[in-house]
Symmetry: C2
Amino acid sequence: MAGPVRITGARITPVAFDDPPLLNAVGIHEPYALRAVIQLDTDAGLVGLGETYADEGHLRRLNAAAGVLAGQDVFALNGMYRAVADVLGGDTGSDGHGLTGMITTSGTVDRVFSPFEVACLDVQGKILGRPVSDLLGGAVRDTVPFSAYLFYKWAAHPGRGADSWGEALDPDGIVTQARRMVGDYGFTAIKLKGGVFAPEQEIEAVRALRAEFPGHPLRIDPNAAWTVPTSLHVAKELDGIIEYLEDPTPGLDGMAEVARQAPMPLATNMCVVAFDEIAPAVARGSVSVVLSDHHYWGGLARSKLLSGICDTFGLGLSMHSNSHLGISLAAMVQLAAATPNLTYACDTHWPWKTQDVIAPGTFTFRGGSVAVPAGPGLGVELDEDALAALAELYLSCGLRNRDDTGYRQSIEPGFVKRTW
Amino acid sequence: MAGPVRITGARITPVAFDDPPLLNAVGIHEPYALRAVIQLDTDAGLVGLGETYADEGHLRRLNAAAGVLAGQDVFALNGMYRAVADVLGGDTGSDGHGLTGMITTSGTVDRVFSPFEVACLDVQGKILGRPVSDLLGGAVRDTVPFSAYLFYKWAAHPGRGADSWGEALDPDGIVTQARRMVGDYGFTAIKLKGGVFAPEQEIEAVRALRAEFPGHPLRIDPNAAWTVPTSLHVAKELDGIIEYLEDPTPGLDGMAEVARQAPMPLATNMCVVAFDEIAPAVARGSVSVVLSDHHYWGGLARSKLLSGICDTFGLGLSMHSNSHLGISLAAMVQLAAATPNLTYACDTHWPWKTQDVIAPGTFTFRGGSVAVPAGPGLGVELDEDALAALAELYLSCGLRNRDDTGYRQSIEPGFVKRTW
């Protein structure tokens, strides 16, 4: 198969899957999370898989990109990136990007290009009969460690049956949740999504986690819900307890102010989410750790670039997660395996979902880690029936854009995003 | 060929080839330039090619690296890099790196790893039946433009016959040299190696080039032979005439001082030659353009990382050259083709040599550019007879380390490297 392998088209299928009522600073997860599955068809008969957000504006842009990728060779990624940039023109992508208003500055071209790049790498790997990690310099680890991702949550979405996790609205609830998650998956690091309650309660929850899990690295992420003084207060209270403090406060300047006095590293997936934000962050000393995410950093090769930049500028590297399915996990694992300086356990929402579009059995968490799939490409296989079912759920569920704030306000009309 | 393709060994052959008496700030090119040719053998029978320096210390390190690479899969580049770093330990590589004392801070691991990485990519391309550029994101240009590389020179090495280029010791000589080089190769950009004569004469030479070639972008590179005030004087005199001023003065601080006042961009292949020099250079604003060189930036993938860093931090990108043969040109061209932000014409010493180790006919300069070889891997074939002849020349010529200063002093005992 030495000649070009040309893209003949892309099937872009929005899907929905059940999502528990997980609380965050801007609201609460809706009953369904939305994703788009990309099946990239080629004239060699090989099909590449990708997964991304499914908000309406994003779907529109994905379709525009797919139009200019037809006819391209699957190795011509530099040219494809330029073609996607050209077709999107000056589109800033501010309407709907699946990140619920918490990340507004990620690069539109990178966000739209990403799933196609992943799908091309999947095809490349299938041509070679090798895992995608081999196309990224080769795996330096056989398994990739993830972090338990704890959320304050309600017992159930209003009017619907309770999920199996139950309520978690205080430190006890969080510790109970953590016990199950660590018990079921073996996670050796723990992250708490904060910014939901007053900082004193969240400090108490982290301390309770420390008491219960004395050896686990801990993190808290309030999604920039705190002022600089509050951030510094929490930082002081959690000194020696958390491995990094994630996005305590908004903006490069606020983060820099906290960073100058906080005793632990600051991490971000909010104030550095695009390549043009790196230089200002470095100049200000805003963060010590960047959470990469191939979904908005332009795919796996550009996430490798981000990792090289972090290595070059003395920044640590971790990995961010949104609610995702198995194609995304495969891409995350292939990338993480081939990124030597990714030394923190990655985030994943994996335990919170009960459905998927990939054939079951590929990923099993042992000791909090999953093995890098050894099969060609991403190493996952699409389950066509499952895809059809979740595509049907997308059509019937009525959700078209993620809106954690609006959903919570529909239940609690007085809810407003707070800053502590 | 879906299983691993393992390295079985590396044949490292030092070669010598005739080099004209080209002058620079530290001395003069010796009668022979030294290079090492790497033939990387694999259990699939495919052989990968690489080319690098051949100074004795470097050869010793190449052999140490080859020892730890045997048995590795040709796609396991991340692991190989770590293995090379491990075997070199704290070796700073200060003895002999083929760069004649002008670049002393390049990374030893990157310099030693580079030719093996290139050879692995050559094998990868051969496995795929695709050019190396496809492994770097795909070519964005079919031809790669190079710059004419002018040198002050003597008519002949003492005691040897004259070469075909004749003497060039004043502006007229430089213009004559440029006429032939542009005439024969069609170069559309011109670089003058300076730091040889007093700045006023070199300014005059650049002005003479401008008069003769009104449309060609011009550059001058005195290899840091000037003080800050001299650099600023030259910058003022050549305002509007040169596209960038290359390494006028030594060090990040000196360059930053010049950069603050010079009207044109400053470029470097001396003060930013390793990844750990990038952050300090960015912080100081020392340079606007980095000349990449895969021979000391750790190979083609890490040169792509450098290009991504330059793009991210608003730095321009050009390409440096040492005296080299066809394997290096192939690697330079594959890299340049797949590097979208490499927008300056690259340097090459190509016209100054009369011998090679590759089969002739692959590279023809048209309009100053060469076509990207379309064949698998690097797209060049080793000429075993030519390799044997240049290996014999290495053995008989007696040179074992590059020493432009010592050679010039052997002819002119009073010569010392000057600073103007």
